[in-house]
């Protein structure tokens, strides 16, 4: 902006001259032919229409963002799995538990069978079981095993 100081300052002679010439140019510019004025008006209206469109688009974009989030959440909630799906997803876990129980039972049975076999061998042997509790017999077994 050209201020008054510049206009009165001796160093502002150029500014004074420039402002005067610009004022005359402005006078000439105001007398623009009608066809050019009309085209400028058309250009201005086009620009304003674009501005409105840009603002509308921006508003739509900001309004649409929460809707998209809400819609996504609804979509997730709407697809609840059915009973069969839940049952099918629980099957592997149930199979695993049943398998573990079966293995445990089989292990117990094998232990019982082994113990019964040992008991049967002890009972059917000539040596009475009470002999194993005798310290002398235990010592005899050790030394005979080393020899």
């Amino acid at each position: 902006m050209i201020n008054n100081k510049q206009l009165t300052d001796p160093d502002g002679l150029e500014a004074r001259f420039g402002v005067r010439v610009a004022a005359l140019l402005g006078e000439r510019a105001r007398a623009t032919p009608p066809d050019i004025s009309e085209r400028l008006r058309f250009a201005r209206e086009q620009a304003l229409a674009r501005a409105k469109a840009a603002r509308r688009q921006e508003q739509l974009a900001t309004a649409a963002a929460p809707a998209v989030v809400a819609r996504g959440r609804a979509a997730v909630l709407a697809d609840r799995p059915g009973w069969w799906v839940k049952l099918a997803s629980a099957m592997p876990l149930a199979m695993l538990v049943l398998g573990l129980v079966a293995i445990d039972r089989a292990h117990d049975r094998a232990q019982i069978a082994a113990a019964a076999e040992v008991d049967a061998a002890l009972l059917s042997d000539d040596l009475p079981p009470a002999a194993y509790t005798d310290p002398g017999f235990a010592e005899y077994l050790k030394t005979s095993g080393q020899q």
Binding site: M1, E14, V21
Partner: protein, 188 residues
């Protein structure tokens, strides 16, 4: 944020000067109208959300860029280099005194006789012609500074040069205009 009305009022206030300034640069009314429309649309699409106070400087910058784009598209590289370079003739103003012009101007536009009023339009045409004949950078600086009333810093920002260059361009433009107009017996 500038409202539609503020944007409309701003464009209305600036469109004729913008057209003239561009027509000076490209020397073709149709092209100048296209460039101004392009600049208006760029401003409206990309900067309509800016405060109204920022619009003048933004628009001048966009208009300058749009004019440069036009020159690039025209592929008149040599003309661009010639018009937009800082190459200017030797300053042979000599002892030309701008104060003398201004003193003469004090009576020049005082009271107009009928014949003066008739010839006023011709004088304005001559002034416009002399402005359009200035080297491009001088004319750009002169018009931005004194017609668009931007300050030195704003003019430098729009032109993409230093403030010192703006002052130099303006000074040379003023002296060239004063000399040319004096030679034709015109005192603005």
């Amino acid at each position: 944020m500038a409202t539609d009305k503020e944007l409309s009022d701003f464009l209305k206030s600036v469109e004729k000067r913008a057209f003239k300034r561009t027509a000076f640069a490209v020397r073709d009314d149709d092209s100048a109208l296209d460039i101004v429309q392009d600049a208006m649309i760029r401003l409206a699409e990309k900067y309509a959300d800016r405060p109204a106070a920022e619009l003048p400087l933004l628009f001048q910058r966009i208009l300058s860029n749009a004019t440069m784009d036009w020159f690039r598209r025209q592929k008149v590289r040599n003309a661009v280099v010639h018009n937009f370079s800082d190459f200017e003739g030797a300053d042979d103003e000599g002892d030309f005194d701008i104060l003398e012009m201004l003193d003469g101007a004090a009576t020049g536009l005082g009271t107009e006789s009928a014949s003066e009023a008739v010839s006023r339009d011709q004088i304005l045409q001559i002034i416009e012609h002399e402005v359009s004949d200035l080297p491009a950078r001088q004319r750009e600086a002169f018009l931005l500074r004194y017609w668009e009333e931007l300050d030195v810093a704003e003019t430098a920002s729009v032109m993409g040069c230093s403030e010192g260059s703006v002052k130099t361009h303006c000074s040379r433009a003023v002296h060239a205009l004063a000399k040319a107009l004096k030679a034709k017996g015109i005192a603005p």
